[in-house]
């Protein structure tokens, strides 16, 4: 009796340790999200990336996310909570998590961190972002072709380099088709505020814009453009269902391949701190199908996409003329250097607006 009890206990213990071992074997991967996963924009796309990761490597990893984490004093705690829950690779998916991520990274040198869209790195902290300006260039070509009034409407979020380089790429592209193209810019000072975004779209249309583009995350502007019978570009995600007769294309953030690649590296023990800034060639983003445009415009867009992907076309090919009429110093050989684009703090010639804070 005693013996059998002891055997049972040993068996239980063994079973317990085996299941514990298999749970411990799974790599824990954590995500910090800025918005709710249902925002249909930025955070939604990151979560699609996470889902792709689970689909690909679900038997080897376990993912956890914290959503709606504000970019303030709470962020550091949220990241540390993920570390303490045993996550070994943590993706922090918004610019404002940069300093909190760095602080936690310094505290836990054995955990690896990946911060989206920032510029501070460490031995155990990588950064990753996408060359969205390439997509903006394609949109600029389409917009100039499709606009009857010759006035484009642009809803900016914040005047940071990512957004400013997007505006410049758009205009440089549009000028190759229509040298007199005009752009009206409204700064919404938010990433996500459907009410403000809708108001901005209305104001831009009232000022004569007939193609609306946005660097904010909600489909509100698309809906307004659709109501007023204008054209628009989506942002971050596929927004065609909000404007079936309106959306020309959309820049789709496709994080899945990157997440899978980084987690595979972590599993293989080859993860290193890196600075990844991927373009169309590395599938960091994709263009939604070109819709609501004639075939010749579609062809222009597709050709440009192919040329950019192949590295034959660079949106910031020198010479680039600044708003002041002077040529911008060309630090990257034939094109502006990556650093100049990442820190872009000027408008190009042809933009009839003043950059805030200049």
């Amino acid at each position: 009796m005693r013996k059998s009890l002891r055997a049972l206990a040993a068996g239980l213990l063994l079973a317990g340790s085996v299941s514990a071992a298999s749970a411990a074997d799974k790599l824990k991967v954590g995500f910090i999200y800025l918005g709710p996963i249902g925002d249909l924009g930025w955070t939604y796309q990151h979560d699609l990336g996470r889902q792709a990761l689970v689909k690909e490597l679900g038997d080897k990893i376990e993912t956890t996310y914290l959503e709606n984490v504000p970019e303030g004093p709470d962020a550091e705690r949220a990241i540390e909570q993920l570390v303490r829950a045993g996550n070994k690779l943590i993706f922090t998916t918004s610019f404002g998590y940069m300093d909190p991520t760095l602080k936690v990274a310094k505290k836990y040198p054995n955990v690896h961190f990946e911060h989206a869209t920032g510029y501070k790195r460490d031995k155990n902290m990588s950064t990753y972002s996408a060359k969205w300006y390439q997509g903006r260039y394609i949109q600029g070509l389409i917009a100039a072709k499709m606009s009857k009034s010759g006035v484009l409407g642009y809803i900016g979020s914040f005047p940071i380099p990512e957004v400013v380089s997007g505006i410049n790429a758009t205009i440089l592209a549009a000028q190759t088709i229509n040298p007199n193209i005009k752009v009206k810019i409204i700064w919404a000072n938010t990433w996500f505020d459907p009410g403000k975004e809708a108001d901005a779209a209305k104001a831009l249309i009232d000022q004569g814009a007939d193609v609306i583009m946005q660097h904010t995350d909600s489909p509100a502007a698309m809906q307004i453009a659709s109501e007023r019978g204008k054209l628009a570009f989506g942002q971050d995600s596929e927004m065609i269902k909000f404007g079936p007769k309106t959306q020309l294309t959309s820049i789709l953030d496709t994080w899945g391949p990157y997440y899978i690649e980084r987690v595979k590296a972590e599993l293989a023990g080859t993860w290193k701190s890196e600075d990844t800034w991927g373009g169309l060639d590395s599938h960091m983003f994709a263009m939604a199908p070109y819709t609501n445009m004639p075939d010749d415009v579609k062809k222009i867009a597709e050709d440009a996409q192919a040329a950019i992907t192949a590295g034959k076309l660079h949106p910031f090919k020198c010479p680039v003329i600044g708003q002041d009429g002077k040529e911008v110093e060309c630090k990257g050989g034939a094109n502006l250097a990556d650093g100049q684009i990442l820190g872009m703090n000027f408008y190009v010639k042809g933009i009839d607006d003043k950059l805030p804070g200049k």
């Binding site: 914290l66 303030g72 705690r77 829950a85 005047p159 000072n189 872009m344």
Partner: protein, 363 residues
Amino acid sequence: MQLVLEKRAERSGTIALISPLIAIGLTIVTMVILFAILGKNPLLALHAYFIAPLTDSYSLQEIAVKATPLVMIAIGLSLCYLANAWNIGAEGQFLIGAVAGSWIAVKTQGTDAGVWVLPAMLVLAAAAGALYALIPAICKVKFGASEILTSLMLVYVADLFLDYLVRGPWRDPQGFNFPTTAEFDPVATVPLLIEGGRLHLGSIIALFVVAAAAILLGRTIKGFEIRVVGAAPRAARFGGFNANQLIILTFAVSGALAGLAGIIEVAGPVGHLQPGISPGYGFTAIIVAFLGRLNPLGILIAGLFLALTFIGGEQAQIAMKIPLDVTKVFQGILLFYVLACDSLILYRFKLVFPNRQVASGTH
């Protein structure tokens, strides 16, 4: 037969004591049902919310860090509310305090400024918060403007002012144009209390504030004045107490405390000035003030309790994959029950048996 609420002749002391307990009990029952519907184990979920954060020093520290600004602001607000002065703009005073204190940090950045920097930042932040709170107070006293509206509207002014500074003049030159100042120098940073943790000196200051408020309200004439003016304005007038003077005073004190909380948050856990330094502390503190029944000790407990729900909510999200929305529902349900149970202090349920014929006639 009808169930009606009837006003009590006087407030019930027993109910006042047990009402928060009833509220918490009802909240737990509701949450158990909700967790069960979501297919989560209710006991494990409640453990993740309430017990797990209390069992390790890391989470305890985080609770203190989260509660610090809430308690500090709520103490100031409670003085206002006790004196019938409705300061809704603590969020703005918090931001202005943060801005004013940061001014010294930004201007002394990279210089060999001495240890005076942090104390100067704290003093300036408190002064700026007080001055900012005086705007609605003076408008109220001089012109009869509703302090509820003016203090609230000044929140947006403060928010945009901070926004302007970090996007323009105070922007980190090495920051790629992103809206933030550079990290503050060590002399401009609130010291940590435990190596490797996040608990900082601000939590000690908050405890001092609680103690000072308890003494003020319980042991001084001024405290008595505040309570009388709020509870019985006519009696206060006959007693020669000046209600207008008290509005000015309580607004200034609550503004100073909010401003102090602002700079402590910026020079502590955040480490630099940026937009979004407050996840709505100034508004959450209103809830904390009332949850703590405008009593300093009550506010301390309420602040810690609310902080616990935040930390526990995160741990439940991680450990049990319970969505964040459930944490918000949980906080909402808690407030609902607290307010509902509080009405029992002044009212009681009574069964009324109306005349049958009338009843059948009306139904």
